[in-house]
């Protein structure tokens, strides 16, 4: 069976999760794999539930939305409730522990991290939440090489924000390593 990985990140509009999904897909492409990033959002630009599906595969990707998740990550309760579908029995679940309180204990492995608190305290910017999250994901899953992930981030972030985004990724990566 050739390599195939599906991830879904659920968040609140404005947290930058769609871009975070694009970082991961871009890094996977740099690593020589096929990848798609497919967002879903409402017309509410800020504050509405948002998700992004990322599929990474050695094969041609026929359909660009996830059908069997390997990883599910949510940074708030509403997107957690809304997008908690398409999971397998062994899907890894990563949650923002202060904002997702009502958690389904359904036997799946759950990692709880205070991601927003990290963003506020360690980086000083809440908008870096999603980049920290991708750091955790990359560390836990080892799905792409961290250096390529940094390269992908640098290729897509606005000028002047490079350093802070890399710092956020590295923070997430260090935190994530503990959960391997």
């Amino acid at each position: 069976m050739s390599f195939h990985f599906e991830a879904r990140f659920g968040a609140i509009g404005g947290q930058g999760i769609i871009t975070a999904g694009a970082f991961l897909a871009t890094a996977a492409i740099m690593q020589g794999m096929n990848a798609v990033q497919s967002p879903t959002y409402t017309s509410q630009v800020r504050g509405g539930p948002t998700k992004v599906d990322v599929i990474i595969s050695e094969d041609e990707i026929l359909f660009n939305r996830c059908t069997k998740l390997d990883l599910f990550l949510a940074t708030a309760q509403r997107p957690y409730d809304l997008y908690y579908t398409d999971l397998k029995d062994d899907t890894l679940v990563i949650l923002e522990e202060n904002l997702v309180k009502n958690v389904r204990e359904d036997g799946r492995k759950i990692i709880k991290v205070p991601i927003i608190e990290l963003a506020e305290k360690e980086i000083g910017l809440t908008v870096t939440t999603s980049v920290i999250a991708t750091g955790i994901v990359v560390a836990v899953t080892e799905i792409v090489k961290p250096d390529l992930m940094k390269e992908a981030i640098l290729s897509r972030v606005p000028k002047g924000t490079e350093a802070i985004n890399i710092k956020a990724f590295e923070l997430g990566y260090e935190v994530g390593k503990k959960y391997r």
Binding site: T26, Q37, S43, L62, F63, R65, T67
Partner: protein, 380 residues
């Protein structure tokens, strides 16, 4: 232009393909989920000396594109369902004046404002009959990122070849997804250039000449000859007419220029069909889901193939009829992200020969491969 490999959204691919196909005029109005097409055009067109304008409304954007087309440029507009409803007035004008123009509809839910940014395939019949009166329609339904690019180029070619508006019906999933695509060098593309009529020996230009085949030669303003265009029924010269034979002949020619050339316009992908026992008929992103569903079903021992139209209008009557008439298949399942539109076309062609089942879904989420697998196991 050296490195054209990159990560693009479907909407970006449409805009870049349009420019590569020679589009040099864009008029539009902001609407989700198609706005990114206009955003890319606003950035790229001025660089190549093409014209970009954000108009006061959707009606005006369609009008401006038609006006520009008659100066000799390839023109395009893009919108989503509610905007296409407004453009309908001038889509009819483009049909009757036989104006080559490309109209992109990144479909979302409806009717009315509907479900912004949620995917649907509810506008396929709007594309066919959205403007009033009898008129031809060419509409393309790309099913993946590659096709968002290459089918846009084909849309421009068909518009030129048949002198008629051509729709690209994308959906929100295809429009917004990011994926890696390697764009070709524009010089490698098969692009149909506009052939603008040039009179010989003081010959009068007839914009609706019936003596030169089904598609009259395309003229342009400011080229040393003058002519008239009108939304009224008209004669060969474009002048209004109430002469019944002329009206009938012109109307029929306008319809037939697409009907008679359906083989040059229709395009399908047949996936896993060789040894299949059942057929899933699906298009656009649902067509992509059907392909994955077919693989999953085959793993479960069900021999399922996919008939995926890439041109939805004209409808692939002949090609679908051949599949049904082959006697190889036991049934067809039509899957679409609406409450039943194209299924009636499939039934029309089928003429009761094979059992037809449906998977119709309209809840703001895409038709997924899982939906198709589950429904297939339920009905066949």
């Amino acid at each position: 232009m050296s490195n054209r490999k990159g990560v693009y959204t479907g909407n970006e691919l449409i805009a870049l393909a349009a420019i590569d196909a020679g589009c040099r005029f864009y008029a539009g109005y902001p609407i989700t989920p198609s706005s990114e097409i206009m955003e890319v055009m606003s950035k790229e067109l001025p660089k190549v000396g093409g014209a970009f304008i954000q108009m006061e409304d959707e009606i005006a954007s369609m009008a401006a594109a038609i006006g520009a087309a008659w100066t000799g440029v390839k023109a395009m507009t893009a919108s989503s369902g509610p905007g296409i409803s407004l453009k309908a007035e001038h889509i009819g004008y483009a049909c009757i004046t036989e104006t080559p123009v490309v109209i992109v509809n990144i479909m979302r839910g409806g009717p009315s404002t509907g479900f912004p940014t949620a995917p649907s395939q509810s506008d396929v019949m709007q594309a066919r009959w959205g403007t009033h009166g009898d008129h031809p329609t060419i509409a393309i339904v790309p099913g993946n990122a590659q096709e968002m690019y290459y089918e846009t180029v084909r849309a421009f070619n068909l518009a030129e070849k048949f002198r008629t508006p051509v729709f690209i019906l994308g959906d929100e999933i295809l429009g917004h997804m990011n994926t890696m695509v390697e764009l070709p060098d524009p010089s490698e593309l098969d692009v149909v250039e506009r052939e603008i009529f040039q009179p010989k020996d003081g010959e009068k230009y007839k914009p609706f000449d019936m003596s030169k085949g089904d598609v009259p030669p395309m003229g342009a303003f400011f080229r040393g000859y003058r002519f008239h265009l009108t939304g009224l029924n008209h004669n060969e010269y474009g002048y209004p007419t109430i002469e019944k034979d002329m009206i009938r002949q012109q109307q029929e020619r306008m319809m037939k220029k697409v009907e008679n050339h359906a083989d040059e316009i229709v395009k399908n992908e047949l996936f896993n069909m060789e040894d299949a026992e059942y057929v899933i008929f699906a298009y656009g992103s649902t067509g992509a889901a059907a392909k994955l569903a077919s693989k999953v079903l085959r793993e479960k021992g069900k021999k399922v193939g996919v008939f995926r139209p890439i041109t939805i209008w004209p409808f692939p009557d002949k090609q679908l009829d051949e599949v049904i008439a082959s006697g190889k298949y036991k049934g067809i399942m039509v899957a679409e992200a609406n409450l039943g539109q194209i299924i009636y076309e499939v039934e029309r062609v089928n003429k009761g020969r094979l059992p037809i089942k449906d998977l119709l879904k309209l809840d703001g989420t895409p038709v997924s491969p899982t939906d198709i697998v589950n429904r297939f196991e339920e009905v066949f």
